[in-house]
């Protein structure tokens, strides 16, 4: 009881709720289906929303953690409820959580993050993972500081069933049908499972112009040859096409009167036409061999896997014409605020004419069809040179790899887990012309390089091997290159179990290689763009250890630690991978050191986990590209040697009020900051020596030590009440999110941005400096969620429904992502010229699913 009082003194304002699954799972096994449907369906609907909200300029793509059948009292009560605010566990980027299918790592070799959309719509079959929380030891992988999850897709693991689900929602899509059939283990040792789903209907009432269409298909077959060997083949694909929403500036939201204003679309021929359409088709094939000798002393699981396919996204491109984006700063009334008449005229136009705040497709067609002729060097004239067009940014990838892991009971106290992981990836990046918008052809020149070097006109061309070629729809232009990565790792973990203590220790060794192959000779870097780059190799290693003190059968003290090194993402390794083979200066292996201490309590009347955690990231890298007002050119900023410190407290509690009611409390109070002032190398993309320093990099220090790492609320809490009786589940949760920060522009924290402001002696200078450098904090918000589910067992059938209503109070002020523009007004030091952008969480949304299962 004293321990309870101690932690309540720290968390007076945390709220929570849970789907308690520990005892009730054992009691009502068949009802977990309904529970799991509720959790995973709802989580996946939020997940689709977040993917639909991705914008290249903004923050990272958020992939909410799927609810796993985790028994961790904090994770199970927080991961769903916090997903609406884009909460990240301990503030970690998703790349620090390992996601596996049949033991094969599915995290992208490019970004480091797993893309849950690859198996979107397959909720029936990709479920109930083995989830390792944080730094606890796993048997299928070494595991990163964010934990590890493995989905077992073995066909024999699905009980014999046929199952159908229909869902209706107003979130990402309106309708979803899912159907799954599994044979169970049949005679002859065969097991077969299949699943298919479709998602359709433009249901996002909040973000106009968005759309979602998705299909999914899954097939799995397993043959048990004998008691020792089994072979399983799984193949699935989830093609989707989504019309995206973009974040915008608050001025635009206010003018339109909606925090869900989407500048990506406009009317065309009576329909909403979105300029940013993302299309994915990325099948996955897994061939898994299971070996368990007759003595059952160990198991070896070996998976060969391949994932391949295409991920593309359209976007507008333009040349020598005004920027067509309606929320471009020059298209907003604030740009004219120095002239009252103009300001009022622009404001009136925004209030009355949707061509002002949506894409004017007709105007782009008109411009193209009245465009001036292009005259080449021979004097030939060609009419209808397109000046607006829609491009398609394509990523084709092929990955092949294998993972094998051994789990062996050495004796009754010691378990050995070990494995190897080998993966290779080739990713082809290029863009094509999608739609010339009435123009006859496109010329591939870089608009930011024209005129930059009058003495060398070749810098204007993206492809010197194809200068002045008139390109048509489907032709490749702009950039064309491959990323290649090889990675190999071996790991081992020993787990020791004794009456009073458990402990584990393990290590990992590996290496990664990366390089680029360019297929275009770019005029800005004619000698450094086409062909193979140098190969960069990185040693990767890690060590993990932990100890659990079992004070009693109900009280545990757990200490975990980990140190791991990994290669930087290839996206952050090259300075400008679209156009050159040069790596960033001072590229280093990233390192992470982490420790956490947890107290776990498990009583019939109460379960609790309280944890302190501390994680230090070293030598992270980041590359951003933007137009630099002071240098007057596109630049790439490569930040190296970046350190981050994440620390905080987690609490998850379930208190049994009665046989039917549980009080749930879960929360996190974190402090995630940059812990040093890294170096940034600024490089003009047109190859210009901006400062005449004899080298192309302008080296500066980013003075952002102790600024907050954005991307997740650092305070999140949920307080809830759960009712569970007679296969009824009702949950109501009040959630609170705070310490939400804006992602900072590193350039605004350099001496170059401060200039020579006298902040010590001049109050006006001090105020201006704070406007430039202070990090914006978003106001905390509350939300209220309700879930109801019920299932009935009728002979061999199970019928159930689940309804979730999120954000019942319709709070439309919750900012999920906010970021500063990378472009900065160096002339007048006016941060309002290029203001922050953000996304808002949707207001009240619902998700209702109806399940029918028979077996």
């Amino acid at each position: 009881m004293k321990q309870v009082l101690l932690f309540f003194s720290l968390f007076l304002f945390l709220f929570g709720y849970t789907y308690s699954q520990i005892d009730t799972q054992q009691e009502i096994k068949s009802d977990t289906t309904a529970v799991q449907d509720t959790q995973e369906d709802i989580a996946s609907s939020f997940g689709s929303i977040s993917e639909g909200q991705t914008d290249d300029e903004g923050g990272d793509t958020f992939i909410p953690s799927l609810l796993h059948s985790s028994r961790d009292v904090y994770q199970s009560n927080s991961s769903y409820n916090f997903s609406v605010a884009y909460f990240r566990n301990r503030g970690y980027d998703n790349q620090y959580q390992d996601i596996c299918l049949n033991g094969f790592m599915m995290n992208s070799m490019i970004t480091g993050r797993a893309s849950f959309s690859q198996w979107g719509g397959l909720n029936h079959v990709v479920r109930w993972p083995e989830q390792i929380i944080d730094m606890n030891s796993a048997t299928f992988i070494f595991g990163n500081v964010g934990g590890a999850t493995n989905y077992d897709l073995r066909a024999s693991g699905y009980r014999k069933q046929m199952r159908a689900t229909y869902s209706i929602s107003n979130r990402t899509y309106m309708n979803r049908f899912m159907f799954t059939a599994a044979s169970g283990v049949m005679k002859g040792g065969w097991s077969v499972v299949g699943s298919a789903s479709t998602r359709f209907g433009d249901a996002i009432a909040y973000a106009p112009g968005t759309s979602y269409t998705g299909f999914s298909a899954f097939i799995g077959a397993e043959k048990k040859f004998d008691e020792e060997h089994a072979l399983n083949l799984t193949a699935f694909v989830s093609p989707t096409q989504r019309g995206m929403q973009a974040g915008s500036v608050q001025e635009a939201y206010d003018l339109v009167g909606s925090n869900y204003y989407n500048p990506n679309w406009g009317w065309y021929e009576g329909k909403k036409r979105n300029a940013r359409v993302r299309t994915t088709f990325e099948p996955v094939i897994l061939l898994t061999h299971y070996f368990t000798p007759k003595n059952n002393k160990y198991t070896i699981t070996t998976t060969l896997a391949s994932t391949f396919g295409r991920n593309s996204s359209t976007g507008l491109n333009w040349y020598d014409v005004p920027d067509p984006r309606p929320d471009y700063y020059k298209n907003l009334p604030s740009y004219y605020k120095d002239s009252l008449n103009l300001y009022e005229a622009w404001t009136e136009a925004w209030n009355s004419d949707d061509k002002m705040f949506q894409i004017d497709w007709y105007k782009m067609y008109e411009v193209n069809q009245t465009a001036k002729n292009y005259t080449d060097s021979l004097g030939n004239s060609y009419p209808l040179r397109a000046q607006y067009m829609v491009e398609n940014r394509v990523i084709d990838h092929f990955e092949l790899g294998g993972a094998s892991n051994l789990v062996m009971d050495i004796n009754k106290n010691i378990k050995l887990s070990a494995g190897v992981d080998i993966r290779g990836l080739k990713q082809h990046n290029y863009k094509t012309i999608n739609d010339l918008l009435g123009g006859a052809y496109w010329l591939d020149v870089d608009k930011f390089s024209e005129g930059a070097q009058p003495e060398d006109l070749s810098v204007e061309y993206n492809d010197l091997n194809n200068k002045d070629v008139k390109l048509n729809e489907g032709d490749v232009f702009g950039y064309d290159y491959n990323f290649l990565i090889y990675s190999q790792k071996a790991w081992a973990m020993l787990n020791f179990t004794y009456p009073k203590i458990d402990f584990h220790a393990g290590g990992q060794l590996g290496a990664s290689e990366m390089w680029r192959v360019g297929f275009m000779r770019n005029g800005r870097f004619a000698n450094d763009s086409e062909g193979k780059s140098k190969t960069k190799s990185f040693f990767e290693g890690g060590a993990k250890a932990g100890i659990t003190y079992k004070a009693t059968g109900r009280n545990y003290l757990v200490l975990n630690s980990e140190f791991v090194t990994s290669a930087p993402s290839i996206l952050n390794a090259f300075l400008a991978p679209r156009i050159r083979n040069t790596y960033i200066s001072d590229l280093k292996t990233e390192k992470i050191a982490s420790v956490d201490l947890s107290y776990i309590m498990n009583y019939p009347f109460m379960k609790m986990r309280a944890s302190l955690y501390f994680t230090q990231f070293f030598d992270l890298t980041k590359v951003v590209s933007y137009y630099h007002d002071d240098y007057g050119t596109m630049v790439n900023d490569a930040i190296t040697g970046m350190n981050q410190r994440h620390l905080g407290i987690e609490l998850g509690t379930e208190i049994k009020l009665s046989s039917m009611f549980w009080l749930i409390l879960a929360g996190n109070v974190g402090d995630y900051r940059y812990s040093n002032s890294p170096t940034v190398y600024t490089n003009a993309e047109n190859g210009y020596d901006m400062l005449d320093v004899g080298e192309l990099d302008v080296k500066q220090t980013v003075y952002w030590k102790n600024f907050f790492v954005a991307g997740s609320p650092q305070i999140a809490g949920t307080l809830g009440l759960k009712f569970n009786h007679n296969y009824w589940w009702v949950n109501i949760n009040a959630n609170y999110f705070d310490r939400i920060f804006c992602t900072v522009n590193p350039d605004r924290r350099t001496s170059n941005a401060r200039g020579t402001l006298d902040i010590d002696n001049n109050p006006a200078d001090a105020e201006l400096y704070h406007q430039i450098a202070d990090q914006a904090r978003i106001k905390g918000q509350f939300t209220l969620d309700l879930s109801v589910s019920k299932s009935w067992r009728i002979k061999r059938y199970t019928i159930g429904f689940n309804i979730n209503v999120a954000n019942i109070t319709n709070n439309k002020k919750l900012v999920t992502t906010a970021w500063e523009a990378y472009r900065f007004d160096y002339r007048e030091l006016n941060i309002e010229k290029y203001p922050n952008k953000n996304f808002y969480a949707f207001g009240t949304t619902f998700f209702a699913g109806f399940n029918f299962t028979f077996n």
Binding site: R754, I759, A773
Partner: protein, 425 residues
């Protein structure tokens, strides 16, 4: 338990408060100047020839003395060091935010061109300005502007802005030659001058055909000549009325060689640089013809010998061959808030005697008397004007005394008017 809870909460608060966001230091140039502005200027001969390419690694430094915030100095950035000033032609149309007055900048002159303003009229009359740094060409009479992306390669700020250089005081056109010499494009202050055209209605910029810049003549009150203040149509004070009366004007002095016109020009950066002086004001006037000063608080303080006495038309002291020491002392004079106060008096000292005999003194405590600078002239009635320091004049216990001391036969000292005036330059 309670203590532990309080400890944890306090620790949490302290822990969070310790991590203050870092502050970026101001920009500092990584290098140093290797040449003065005067040395750089020697690389080019002013006149009609092509500008000179600077092909050596020349680096100069100076403080910014101009601003385009108010529409003057458009695309022309002036800097000054202890040897002179120079104009940088920049394409930046709002440089005042970046290059503030007093800002030290370093200029890497390599690959820039050193030249001057050139204008040749249809009749062939050539006019030249002073030194400019820019890019090759002849735009609007000067070099091409240093473009935005080239600016970062040549112009570097360093450190917090300092106080700008003290302007050289110019009170006549002859001062220009004596004090300025060849140091154009530097800060000056023209004192005790006036706008020749000011009549209460004329503006700084009076339209003249299609001209976007005109000249307003500034004359010195001592009649020694004029300087042309260049006024742009686009400056914020273009439509302000030209002030009448005496003014002090701070600006950047330039040259514009084109005889028979004045070769000197002044660039006024801000309306605040034109300070209108208040007219002279009489604070007190004692006309001995009508006023007995001994009836208005003045007193005679005798020591020995003769005394100051009043006769209609004057006060005087006559030693008549005896040793004499006495003071003619004013009452307390309160000139608080007044500036540039002088004491003006008419007097006559027949021939003979030294300055020790006749002195004008002041006190601010009633006991210690300090002399004012007074060189008495003997002979006919003469006017003396003695300046009082503003600090002294502002003291409410100020007293003035005319002191006469002699041990010889010395002529009479006669004073027939005493006037105190303010705002006298």
């Amino acid at each position: 338990m309670k203590k532990t809870s309080i400890f944890l909460i306090i620790t949490g608060i302290i822990f969070t408060a310790c991590f203050k966001p870092e502050v970026a230091p101001p920009l500092e140039f990584n290098g140093e100047a290797n040449m003065t502005i005067a040395e750089l200027q020697e690389l080019h001969t002013l006149g009609g020839g092509d500008p000179t390419l600077i092909d050596t690694n020349a680096i100069i430094t100076g403080l910014v003395i101009s601003t385009d915030q108010f529409g003057s100095s458009y695309k022309e950035l002036y800097i000054q060091d202890e040897t002179g000033g120079i104009c940088l032609r920049v394409a930046n149309t709002a440089y005042f935010n970046k290059y503030r007055i007093g800002q030290r900048i370093f200029v890497k002159a390599k690959d820039l061109y050193l030249g001057n303003y050139i204008s040749v009229s249809a009749s062939g009359l050539a006019r030249y300005g002073f030194y400019q740094l820019g890019l090759f060409g002849n735009t609007e009479g000067g070099l091409e502007f240093i473009s935005t992306n080239a600016e970062g390669r040549h112009i570097f700020r360093s450190g917090i802005p300092e106080a700008p250089p003290m302007p050289k005081i110019i009170t006549s056109t002859t001062d220009i030659d004596e004090k300025i010499g060849g140091d154009y494009h530097t800060l000056v202050r023209l004192e005790n001058c006036y706008f020749v055209s000011a009549n209460g209605t004329r503006k700084y910029f009076e339209p003249s055909g299609s001209l976007t810049t005109i000249s307003q003549d500034v004359g010195f009150n001592n009649g020694t000549g004029t300087v042309q203040a260049r006024i742009s149509k686009y400056c914020t004070f273009a439509n302000d009325i030209l002030p009448k009366g005496t003014v002090n004007i701070t600006g950047i002095l330039s040259m514009y060689v084109s005889p028979p016109y004045s070769p000197h020009q002044l660039i006024i950066c801000s309306i605040n640089d034109v300070v209108v002086l208040p007219p002279e004001k009489i604070l007190q006037n004692i006309d001995m013809n009508t006023t007995n000063p001994f009836n208005t608080g003045w007193t005679n303080e005798p020591v020995t010998g003769a005394n100051w006495t009043y006769t209609q038309g004057n006060v005087s002291v006559r030693p008549d061959g005896q040793e004499t020491e006495c003071r003619f002392v004013s009452p307390k004079l309160n000139f608080s808030g007044e500036k540039n106060v002088v004491i003006s008096f008419n007097y006559r000292l027949p021939n003979g005697g030294t300055t020790n005999n006749a002195q004008v003194k002041y006190t601010i405590d009633g006991t210690k008397w300090d002399p004012l600078q007074f060189s008495p002239q003997t002979g006919a009635t003469t006017e003396a004007v003695l300046k009082l320091d503003d600090n002294i004049a502002a003291n409410p216990n100020l007293q003035i005394a005319f002191q006469y001391k002699t041990t010889e036969i010395f002529p009479i000292w006669i004073i027939n008017r005493i006037t105190f005036k303010a705002n006298v330059l």
